[in-house]
């Protein structure tokens, strides 16, 4: 398949997944903040900072907002069009990518994504965000679920699918580590002195993992059993290990190389990561420090993404090429050139 098409399919799904997870992160943080009403603005900043770091651009945020209160952060992450990683921007870019590969998508799939885009840009969408934020985020999550469902039911398990699956699981794995990281930044309070059970419950709920937790574990959610599920479960679709397995599988299906060996650096990194997760343990991680471990995982996800790009999208050495034209920088000249092609 065309390299550009592979790249667009990958980003289309990745950005949809990002929008979904962002809406979850905003919700879980909102819930947790209810218990910390007395936080001063410095504390608040410390609380939201990792999320801005993980999803957006801190410099961009401080440039645009003088306050770092919850309302500002939520606006920045949800509907700020200047933030390329806000929910609204993610959906717009996902659709832009979908447009570039429309011929590869089923009509239903395109329509679902396009409807979501039309919704977030409609006055109806804006009002819902104003008046009933939980329903707004729920609408987005449902639409992304529907999107994944239609994709699963209408796209052949060909190379196109594998690139989409790769994008989905890379993003999902990354965001699960962000969920797990939330507690690292929550300040100690009177309530949490006796344990952070309610925080872990909120995290499980926002991952849609509460049901899976209850069937597999007894007792109250705590650091070790939640990490056990969200990091090491071989079956739960949002666990890091499950995602790593899917990433590794997709990469090998794309290359045709047998699993357990590698033919490019993306496969090498993903194979090593997968075996680490397959043989790792929760005790080990908690002992060494959860936050540092999650940091290390995130940089490896990035590495896999970059190496996959190098292997499949960048041109072979020595072939002359020109850079793509990003949406944001369509100059007047280019726009004019594009407008010429009509008869």
């Amino acid at each position: 398949m065309l390299s550009r098409v592979a790249n667009s399919l990958y980003w289309m799904v990745r950005l949809i997944e990002r929008a979904d997870n962002l809406s979850r992160i905003i919700e879980v943080n909102g819930q947790l903040l209810l218990d910390h009403e007395r936080l001063d603005s410095e504390r608040l900043r410390a609380f939201w900072k990792p999320i801005i770091l993980s999803t957006g651009d801190e410099a961009l945020f401080s440039e645009q907002y003088s306050e770092a209160g919850s309302a500002e952060v939520i606006r920045f992450l949800t509907e700020d069009r200047k933030n390329p990683n806000s929910i609204v921007s993610c959906i717009a870019q996902a659709r832009e990518n979908a447009r570039m590969v429309r011929d590869q998508l089923s009509e239903e799939l395109w329509e679902e994504l396009n409807s979501l885009y039309l919704f977030i840009n409609s006055s109806e969408g804006e009002q819902l965000l104003q008046n009933d934020p939980p329903r707004y985020y729920e609408t987005i999550r449902r639409a992304t679920f529907t999107f994944h469902g239609i994709a699963a039911a209408s796209i052949s398990r060909s190379e196109a699918w594998e690139f989409m699956d790769l994008g989905r699981h890379l993003e999902r794995a990354d965001k699960t580590t962000r969920f797990l990281d939330i507690t690292s930044f929550l300040p100690e309070t009177e309530e949490t002195a006796g344990g952070r059970g309610f925080q872990w419950t909120a995290i499980l709920r926002s991952c849609g993992a509460l049901g899976a937790f209850r069937t597999g574990h007894r007792g109250e959610p705590c650091a070790s059993n939640v990490v056990d599920l969200l990091m090491f479960s071989p079956d739960f679709p949002r666990s890091v290990r499950y995602c790593a397995d899917r990433i590794d599988r997709s990469l090998h299906r794309i290359s045709g190389h047998p699993r357990g060996a590698y033919c490019n650096d993306a496969e090498r990194v993903s194979g090593r990561l997968l075996s680490e997760l397959s043989y790792g343990s929760t005790e080990e991680i908690l002992e060494a420090g959860l936050h540092a471990y999650l940091d290390g995982l995130q940089s490896r996800f990035n590495e896999i993404g970059e190496e996959a790009f190098r292997a499949y999208v960048l041109l072979p050495d020595g072939v002359e090429t020109r850079p793509p034209i990003p949406a944001a920088s369509v100059s007047a000249v280019v726009a004019w050139q594009m407008a010429q092609q009509q008869q």
Partner: protein, 475 residues
């Protein structure tokens, strides 16, 4: 629904001079009359919704929020009876064959110039003439593979060819999407009315592309080359590529090595045999044409001249749809085919001929003046509705550069009933059928009927308040 309808003295597609319905519209009239107004309006609105959801839209340039508009769709179809269609088919086939013979000649021996049928300077001064391609043989000797000729019907009820779009005619996706929209909104309409299907268009197009492949072995790799997703016709490019089952590529997806064209895939480079390009000549190859083109493929002209890749349409076809050359098409038909043209031209005056220019300058308020190489309804003067100032400006332009202008009498285009905010009113229309020249000439029974939605307007272009209709050719 049609009770208050007035033809206002124009040639009306649906009703004759005495207000009686023309026989080929009878079935439609019966069905439509059965709908209450509200219901009809709701069905029309559902078409718009469908187009918007489907993203059947064109982009509005220079709009920060990336606004997209739908091409307004009118639910009242335009109906063409079988005998009229046969006549059109014969005329359009004759025309595309003659134009292809003309292009071959112009880019080879130039008999038609040597014999003095067309003055040489008209060709050599044509903007889209590409002298560097003289002597280059194109695959299967076909130049215009896809032609979107614009036809109009005058007050006398006769069809005329208004212009031949032989470069990159657009709009074919609307031919198919309008049909889908109408079928969806009025599912029971088509059953017994004997409307011919237009579904075969993508197959016809694909067969043509495969036919012109310069390589014999294996199935040819055909691609559609688009300027990109910011182009106003991008939806159409995707639509056609998907329907044909071929890849849609941008310039940056293609590379030229050793005079062959390749596309970049996840598993290396794959040779491309045929390119259905939706990019103008000027932007195709920055090493040959416009140096600043970011849309094209450096080196693609080398591969083309070496005969290693086919382009549809060929390079340099624009000389045939130059509005000055248009004037000579009846002579071209006569010269190459020894036949009378089946479809007439609109009477045309050339500003570069002294007597014609004199006539033009004296009669500007009655004439339509067009720049020779513009399309999309730009660079035009509509004499009867122009101000004194506009007329004065055009006068200067014509005198300064007579080669660039032609003039025609105002043809009052035929009208068709059109749903205008709850009422049926007459609006002017034209017709663009799509002629495909591959192994033989094929014309899908239908076309794009464009309609000038503004009351009294004669301009049907989408950029200037035009919409479109489904076009029915009856069995």
């Amino acid at each position: 629904m049609f009770d208050a309808y007035e033809a206002d003295g124009f040639y009306d597609e649906m009703f004759d001079r005495d207000g009686g319905v023309r026989p080929h519209y009878q079935g439609l009239l019966d069905r439509f009359s059965a709908f209450p107004t509200d219901d009809f309006e709701a069905r029309r609105a559902s078409c718009d919704q469908h187009f918007l959801r489907q993203g059947v839209t064109f982009n509005v340039y220079h709009d920060e929020r990336g606004t997209e508009r739908i091409f307004p769709f009118d639910p009242v179809p335009r109906v063409i009876p079988a005998d009229e269609w046969e006549h059109l088919e014969a005329g359009l086939t004759q025309r595309i064959i003659a134009l292809n013979l003309f292009l071959h000649d112009i880019y080879h021996e130039q008999h038609i110039l040597n014999d003095g049928i067309i003055p040489r300077h008209y060709i050599e001064n044509a903007t889209h003439y590409r002298p560097e391609f003289r002597g280059v043989d194109v695959p299967k000797d076909i130049y215009i593979h896809i032609c979107g000729s614009d036809l109009i019907r005058g007050a006398d009820g006769a069809y005329y060819v208004l212009e031949d779009n032989g470069r990159c005619p657009s709009g074919a996706s609307y031919l198919l999407e309008n049909r889908n929209a109408l079928k969806r909104a009025f599912p029971n309409l088509f059953e017994s009315l004997g409307v011919r299907s237009v579904d075969s268009y993508p197959r016809v197009l694909r067969d043509m592309l495969q036919h012109v492949s310069p390589h014999r072995e294996g199935e040819p790799v055909c691609v559609l080359l688009t300027p990109g997703c910011y182009n106003s016709a991008y939806f159409e490019h995707c639509f056609l590529a998907r329907e044909m089952g071929i890849d849609i590529v941008e310039g940056r997806d293609l590379v030229v090595m050793d005079d062959f064209v390749y596309m970049r895939t996840t598993h290396g480079l794959v040779r491309v045999d045929v390119i259905y390009r939706r990019i103008d000549d000027d932007f195709l190859d920055p090493t040959v044409f416009r140096k600043d083109s970011v849309l094209g493929v450096p080196g693609i002209m080398r591969a083309y001249q070496a005969g290693n890749v086919a382009l549809a349409n060929a390079v340099g076809t624009g000389v045939a749809d130059d509005k000055v050359i248009y004037y000579f098409v009846p002579k071209i038909i006569e010269y190459y085919l020894g036949q009378d043209p089946i479809l007439p031209n609109v009477p045309t005056f050339l500003a570069s001929e002294d007597s014609d220019r004199k006539y033009i300058l004296e009669h500007l308020p009655e004439l339509v003046v067009k720049a020779a190489n513009e399309s999309g309804g730009y660079g035009m003067l509509m004499g009867p509705s122009a101000t004194q100032e506009e007329i004065g400006k055009f006068k200067e332009k014509i005198i300064a550069d007579p080669r660039n202008f032609i003039a025609q009498p105002v043809i009052s285009l035929s009208r068709s009933p059109t749903w205008c905010e709850g009422n049926m009113e007459g609006r002017h229309i034209d017709l663009r059928p799509y002629i495909v020249y591959g192994e033989d000439v094929k014309i899908v029974p239908g076309g794009l009927t464009r309609v000038a939605l503004r009351k009294g307007s004669l301009v049907v272009n989408s950029s200037q308040g035009g919409g479109s209709k489904d076009t029915w050719v009856l069995k």
